[in-house]
Symmetry: C2
Subunit: 249 residues, 2 copies
């Protein structure tokens, strides 16, 4: 997947290799490739991931472009036009604060106009410094349960990357696969319902004739709502035959 | 937070305590409380989490109601009205397949009507069996990068729980906090712009008089777009004073 329309993920002072690896895995899950580290606590020697980072990346670090490492945040941001800062706690700054979902749409809009965007995430202990947040145009927050709000670094990257993927890749909200069959035609469904009615008649099901139209309407509604395939319709025909004692055709 | 309107999370044959703990943490992050395990590989003795589960839950298992353990899936599902099955790979079943986002809205709609819902997640190795999926009314898939689609169990729970939280807790998409100041009034902003114009005149900034209206319009647009606070406006007044050599008031 091209990173033409995808933002950079910038981890500022990350501490644990596991989280760098987890962030890389989350990025790959959602088609992001541009990962930059600012002052990782344990270094990032020879551009090779630490063992825990590699294990937690589930192979993502092997297929991504090399991770870039910088000494300070401003250097890493040079090429980007719009910068986003993720923060858990409110900052006393006059700056737009967006939900991750709304920011993802904003990022998709900007990238589609050829603007480059980058999203900063702070380290595990204290998040981004106020100086880092001041570099950003927009603050991103992830709404959580106020009684239990702590997300770890890799989880925060996962949730933001997922929102960006959804903002840039529209999937059908609901699909119903046919499983190798075709939807039943109205004619075949009608034959099934008529068969039910005939055999129920034969077996004295409609004891109160006044209820017959209602009963048949209920049966029709249930079988219509089931959105049967042609195969399932034949199966029900076979079930009726079996129950009335005929050999299955 | 009440679990009145929240679905149950059902982990079927989970293997790693870390993932059970991670799922519990993700549930607490997004206000879910009803966690059930079917045949956890390493057991769930005395209703006490294993050490790795407790560590990865970041305290969530201590504040949640006790996790319930069942021998088979159908027993765990007894009280629920609508069952969802998360699957990564397509199943050859005629059953609606929803994105996590759309399913979250469906779950929120059903819970608000008093219907109880449950979401099944399969174990780490092979996901849900076809027999388990057949128990569900609706299949949930999480759209991912097709070239790197593997999500671990705790990550899948995190993403689904986040969608449910967003479907049930509407947050303002964008807010701009004032940081203890008030937005500048039009009058004060005008005074600043007029001051700019006067001092730029005094310093012979408008060399080409024809360009003056355009220059002033640009300055006005930039300062209007900045949505200044009253404090920031006073700061700019001080900057002008400093630059022209007056003492800051």
């Amino acid at each position: 997947m091209s990173n033409m329309h995808n933002p950079a993920i910038i981890l500022v002072s990350p501490q644990m290799g596991e989280n760098i690896g987890g962030a890389a895995r989350a990025m790959s899950n959602f088609g992001l490739e541009d990962l930059k580290l600012i002052n990782p606590r344990d270094g990032w020697p020879n551009n090779k991931p630490s063992e825990s980072a590699a294990a937690n990346s589930a192979g993502a670090l092997d297929i991504m472009p090399p991770v870039e490492v910088f000494k300070n945040t401003a250097d890493a941001l040079k090429q980007y036009h719009t910068i986003y800062a993720t923060t858990a706690r409110p900052r006393d700054m006059r700056k737009p604060v967006m939900t991750a979902r709304h920011a993802a749409q904003d990022i998709a809009d900007k990238q589609s106009q050829g603007l480059k965007t980058a999203i900063m995430f702070g380290g595990e202990r204290a998040g981004l410094t106020n100086d880092d947040v001041a570099l950003a145009h927009i603050i991103i927050t992830i709404p959580t349960n106020p009684d239990f709000s702590s997300l770890n670094l890799a989880q925060a990257v996962l949730l933001v990357a997922n929102e960006i993927f959804q903002a840039t890749h529209k999937a059908p909200e609901t699909q119903t696969p046919l499983g190798g069959s075709a939807p039943v035609s109205h004619e075949e469904l009608n034959e099934l319902i008529t068969r039910f009615e005939t055999e129920l008649d034969n077996h004295n099901f409609f004891r109160n004739p006044d209820m017959r139209p209602t009963m048949m309407r209920n049966i029709r509604n249930a079988l219509t709502r089931a959105n049967l395939t042609d195969q399932e319709t034949r199966t029900f025909q076979g079930i009726i035959s079996a129950l009335i004692g005929n050999k299955v055709k």
